[in-house]
Symmetry: C2
Subunit: 233 residues, 2 copies
Amino acid sequence: MHTCTDAFDCFVSRVLPKRTGPETVRLFRTLGSHVHLKPDRHLHYPDDEPTLVFLCDGATKLVAHASDHREQVLAFHFTGDLLTLPAHGAHSYTLEALVDCDLMTFPYAQFLQAAEKHQQVLTQLLERSTVSLQRSREKTLTLGRKSALERVSSFLLSMAERIGRGEGSEVKLDLPMSRKDIADSLGLTIETVSRQFTLLRDQGLIRTQGRSGVTLLRVDELDRRAGHLRVAA
Amino acid sequence: MHTCTDAFDCFVSRVLPKRTGPETVRLFRTLGSHVHLKPDRHLHYPDDEPTLVFLCDGATKLVAHASDHREQVLAFHFTGDLLTLPAHGAHSYTLEALVDCDLMTFPYAQFLQAAEKHQQVLTQLLERSTVSLQRSREKTLTLGRKSALERVSSFLLSMAERIGRGEGSEVKLDLPMSRKDIADSLGLTIETVSRQFTLLRDQGLIRTQGRSGVTLLRVDELDRRAGHLRVAA
DNA sequence: CGATGGCTTGATCCCGTTCAATGGATGTGG
DNA sequence: CCACATCCATTGAACGGGATCAAGCCATCG
């Protein structure tokens, strides 16, 4: 763990307002640490206080751990995402890399204090926190009231929005997470996820290439399968 | 819907910093509306932009609606809570009163603009948003990986924290929500929730009085039943 | 090209749902 | 203040979707 100019610069340009004074930039630099994570490794952070993480490059999963070694993936994150790792309470949390990752970490309380005089940073934190909350709420609905097929359809549509490359009416995806990760995110088992992929493939809604490649062929039909109220145009 | 000094004053004292200038208070007053909701009625709000709600008094549930008339309770709120109603996307949302409620509503974007010069308000919004996110994440774990008994135990412990009255080693609860609401919050059916209540009663962990009264007799055992990693002291 | 680990497919089981009936708390009119 | 009606909660029996257990399959990498 050392301070790396590259990653920090990435943080500055993506999170701090354009015209931030050099002394403020220096303050944030003293608070932040650069960490590189290899796939399947998790971030070590103090478990008694929250940590703010900026994902400069890569993809991660935020995992909650319950008793009996059960795991639930709370969220996936991609390049440019800003996230807060909660202090451990009734459950514990880990941030794990799906691919090689570069991230900047900050002690949450100190970061907030430093940001207090810069409402643009606060506003941005609030905005991103709201987006996270919104995603988490959608996931709550998905886990609470949807069937396996609906969950997998929702997942694919959600990934399409975040990392999909549109090609005409199709959307191409290169999933950085394994079937196990998807299952842990949707409250299902590997086997069930696999069966839903097969089902969607047999219905002609998706095409799969190898382990990580997925092409969405009929987004409208997926919306319907996902149990969405409004179907995308 | 009209401007009511009482409810607004409640908002001012609970959300705005102590020394807020009268012109700022006036600005927030022009943005906010006071609404009284009777039990089972829901708040009407524009579905294309988020709304900020301060719950002056009462208890509400935030409900997400999927296709096929399925409902998922995303969160319960109690007196003093500040919450954001999202704009409708793939799903729609309603805020419904569990008991008589007084609330102040603000257009989110305008509220944020008014708050921009007052970082204490921003900080508070951020703080409350973080708490909501944290609760939502706990719920995600609960819905994704826990059994019916664990879910109901988690629910009771969570309610104990928020509206419980400790009496010695016992905690007394007066639940404002019905079994249906609890079921919709936990991704279960009324019948299953009822069965878990019976189970916990038979095991001597809780006592029930009428429909809404619950006394937690063994918090430590409930923690264990809830699948928590750490058991409360 | 062969080994490894993840993915897919199949058979059986179980927890929570569904359907159905009973029980009991709350509230109203006599 | 009690009888009754209503609605919610509880209890029971049967069903089903996804989990579990168990093989095979095939991408990916040495």
